[in-house]
């Protein structure tokens, strides 16, 4: 990089007049990297602190103002072999970190209280069986109350608050029965203690809170981890733009651009922001936006969109706000509609809790009435009814789903799939139809050489090394074929035409047919070509969007899973047909506008199908929002990625199949876990109704069932490939 980037946008001042910056670091693979990265940064003058968080691959640097340019930090990392990408931590991420700390504090308090109360309770249980005096027992009960009441008031807040909000909005959620159960259990125990009773349920109430908080903390930790990875990926993707400051050109991060800025876009770069062309002519590839692989000629006055690839000429661009562009407008309108029309799939846990609460409360009420009818005292009837509430409190239910989600999201993570939405696993498992976009989804986002076997290998190697001297996108495809990644010295680029260099004493040229003087070579129809001449020898290297390397294999796997596969593309039919044929997909549509795609998806969903949409283009964003569940590759347009339920990394298509397999297994385990919880209740509730649920039995039953569902959840860990 010749010009240093102006990164002052990312430097935050702190109280002591120092500046700090957070960077997502790429290439951290082992423990030794920690020392190397921190060492490289600390060598710079004025660095007060450099600490790498290995868990989320982020580096926090603090330096005294003016001592060092932020760009020097990135350069120092670069020099030691790592890529650092500065970013501003998202607000949502900070809020979640605060929430996670709160949950962990509550969990700590509940754990402390549960352990100490259990210590006292075990003494009471064994004392009740032998010769404990009632004074000693009362002392133990009061001590339990002393621990339980403040602990519950503190650790129960997440549930009480959520239940209160639900009640205020005249609805109900899982936290309402939980709160009622805990409060009643504590109140009854206090009453019983005051009346010198043999049994109190302080331990049950606190243990309940402990298990429920564990479930909640697990769920939260999973969300935070995926959010951190998504944040890093966004930082990795963040591009820079060349902005005119007067006559000078400064490289700035895209986040610093404002409407009205004038930018320079060099050939072979992506357009960093929406804008109108103020000067220059070129061809742009808008496949990331429209899905169409053909190129569009642009001239001053034309509008170009962020994400377009600039091919031939340097452009001067005036940044506009997205509102002015008709295509973006249309897509945003469709997005709004699609998001509004989407029926919110009810989560498994919500469905379970909707049935659960009325059943449990009815059972408790019936128990009370039944015992009264059988002639028991009010006191005994109410105590038994509360015991029913305690023993049915949904520990297992609250752990059954988060535990599976955590383990499954870990498995997805290893399969290179990163979840955006927590309930995506359940919806992924339900999908029965997959709709693929073509460009950038089934095919690789970058073009590739299609006929390497038809070109003499030494000639291809020469062309590839020569092509490394230019940033032209077609040449990049050729350069990727190079085995020895060494460009030729003295290579000269003639903009818009090609590159030339002296190789083995003879001039070699790569570029357009005219430039190479080799128009007689047969060109493959419908493909772009890079021509190459070296003395008397010449070659035509065909370059096109090629399928992801494992596309055919993955499609076959998905078909074997019983999924209905389709392709809907915005590209021309003659570009879609060969892809569909190569993959054996007979249902495909081409030249579709974003609105058409949504229409087709909605038709399918009206027939009761659950559609998984896989797409990357800006034109796919509304379809992703409309579909039941959606995936997009990491190379997708930002707006599109924000709509997707999950993002997959890498060049392979396999993560799509892995995601479906892992999700299906996770879903099976979730319902298995729910059934385990039902079976547990079927055994425990009659015991409680019969009035036999002593605190000892309640404690055993609750911890036993929670352990069981957690262990069962661990089975989701086994890899999807096996």
């Amino acid at each position: 990089m010749s010009a240093a980037i102006d990164l002052s946008l990312y430097a935050k001042p702190d109280d002591d007049g120092r500046l700090s910056m957070d960077l997502a670091v790429e290439g951290v693979t082992c423990g030794a990297c920690i020392g190397r990265i921190e060492g490289a940064v600390k060598q710079l003058p004025g660095i007060a602190e450099a600490r790498l968080n290995y868990t989320n691959r982020r580096l926090h640097v603090v330096w005294s103002d003016g001592a060092v340019e932020p760009a020097r930090i990135v350069e120092a990392l670069e020099a030691s072999g790592y890529h650092g990408h500065p970013f501003v931590p998202l607000r949502a991420e900070q809020e979640e970190a605060a929430e996670a700390r709160r949950l962990t504090r509550c969990l700590g308090v509940a754990g402390f209280a549960a352990m100490n109360i259990m210590l006292l309770s075990v003494s009471v249980w064994s004392g009740n069986a032998s010769d404990m005096t009632s004074e000693t027992r009362d002392f133990f009960h009061w001590a339990s109350a002393l621990i339980a009441l403040p602990a519950a008031a503190y650790a129960g807040r997440p549930f009480f608050q959520s239940a209160w909000h639900a009640l205020k909005a005249r609805s109900t959620n899982m936290d309402v029965p939980i709160s009622i159960g805990v409060i009643l259990a504590l109140a009854m125990s206090l009453f019983e203690t005051a009346h010198h009773a043999r049994e109190a349920y302080f331990d049950s109430a606190i243990m309940l809170l402990f298990f429920l908080l564990t479930g909640r903390a697990l769920e939260h930790a999973m969300r935070r981890r995926t959010r951190a990875v998504a944040g890093n990926l966004a930082a990795l993707k963040a591009d820079t733009a060349h902005r005119f400051a007067g006559e000078e050109v400064v490289t700035v991060p895209v986040a610093a651009l404002r409407a009205g800025d004038r930018l320079m876009v060099k050939p072979g770069e992506r357009v960093p922001a929406d804008g109108t062309i103020a000067g220059g002519r070129s061809e742009v590839d808008e496949s990331l936006i429209t899905g169409e692989t053909g190129r569009r000629r642009v001239a001053p006055g034309d509008t170009v969109y962020a994400g377009s690839f600039n091919y031939d000429g340097a452009l001067t661009l005036t940044v506009t706000v997205a509102g002015g562009a008709s295509l973006i407008d249309e897509i945003e309108k469709l997005l709004e509609k699609a998001a509004g029309a989407k029926t919110h799939a009810m989560r498994l846990a919500d469905r379970a809790s909707r049935i659960y609460a009325p059943v449990v409360h009815a059972a408790a009420a019936l128990t009370c009435i039944g015992w009264l009818a059988a002639g028991a005292s009010w006191h005994d009837a109410i105590v038994t009814a509360i015991a029913v509430l305690i023993i049915t409190c949904p520990c297992a239910l609250a752990l059954a789903i988060p535990a599976v989600q955590v383990v499954a999201s870990g498995a997805l993570f290893r399969a290179n799939v990163i979840l955006n939405a927590g309930d995506a696993i359940e919806r992924l498992a339900e999908a029965d139809t997959i709709i693929f976009d073509k460009t950038g989804t089934l095919t690789l986002p970058e073009p590739r050489v299609v006929n390497p076997e038809r070109v003499d290998s030494d000639l291809l190697q020469m062309a590839a090394r020569l092509a490394m001297s230019t940033r032209h996108p077609l040449a990049n495809a050729v350069a990727r074929e190079a085995v020895a990644r060494v460009p030729y010295e003295g290579a000269v680029e003639e903009p818009g035409r090609g590159v030339r260099a002296i190789v083995d004493g003879v001039e070699a040229r790569a570029g357009s047919a005219e430039f190479c003087g080799a128009p007689q070579l047969a060109a493959l129809p419908g493909l772009s070509h890079i021509y190459f001449v070296h003395g008397a020898r010449s070659a035509a290297i065909a370059v096109t969007q090629s399928l992801r390397p494992d596309a055919a294999e993955t499609i076959a796997r998905l078909r074997a899973l019983g999924l209905d596969l389709r392709i809907l593309s915005g590209d021309r039919p003659e570009a879609v047909r060969p892809v569909a044929a190569a993959l054996g997909i007979d249902k495909w549509g081409a030249a579709l506008k974003p609105g058409d795609k949504i229409g087709l998806i909605e038709d399918l969903q009206r027939q009761g199908r659950k559609v998984l949409m896989v797409g990357d283009g800006l034109n796919d964003a509304p379809s992703l929002a409309a579909a039941h569940v959606s995936l997009s590759p990491i190379s997708a347009a930002d707006l599109t990625q924000a709509q997707a339920d999950a993002v997959f990394l890498g060049e392979r298509l396999a993560p799509v199949a892995e995601a479906v397999i892992v999700a299906r297994r996770a879903r099976a385990l979730m319902s298995e876990n729910l059934w385990l919880a039902v079976v547990y209740n079927a055994v425990a509730v009659p015991v409680a109704i019969a009035g036999l649920a002593t605190p000892l039995i309640a404690a055993l039953a609750m911890s036993g069932s929670s352990l069981l569902v957690t262990l069962n959840a661990l089975r989701a860990k086994r890899g999807g490939a096996a």
Binding site: A32, G35, Y54, T55, T104, G108, F112, N116, T133, T136
Partner: protein, 51 residues
Amino acid sequence: MNVLVYLVPLALGLGLAGLFGFLWALRSGQYSDVEGAALRILSDDDVENKS
């Protein structure tokens, strides 16, 4: 049974000490990078290079 009068508060006090230890560790960021801590202990950057 008089022994309980100081044994129970003692047990409680120990438990509370553990709880405050945990809360302190949480606040001082000991849990923010659990993987890194496991690897940092292996680095020898505090040892003089002997070779």
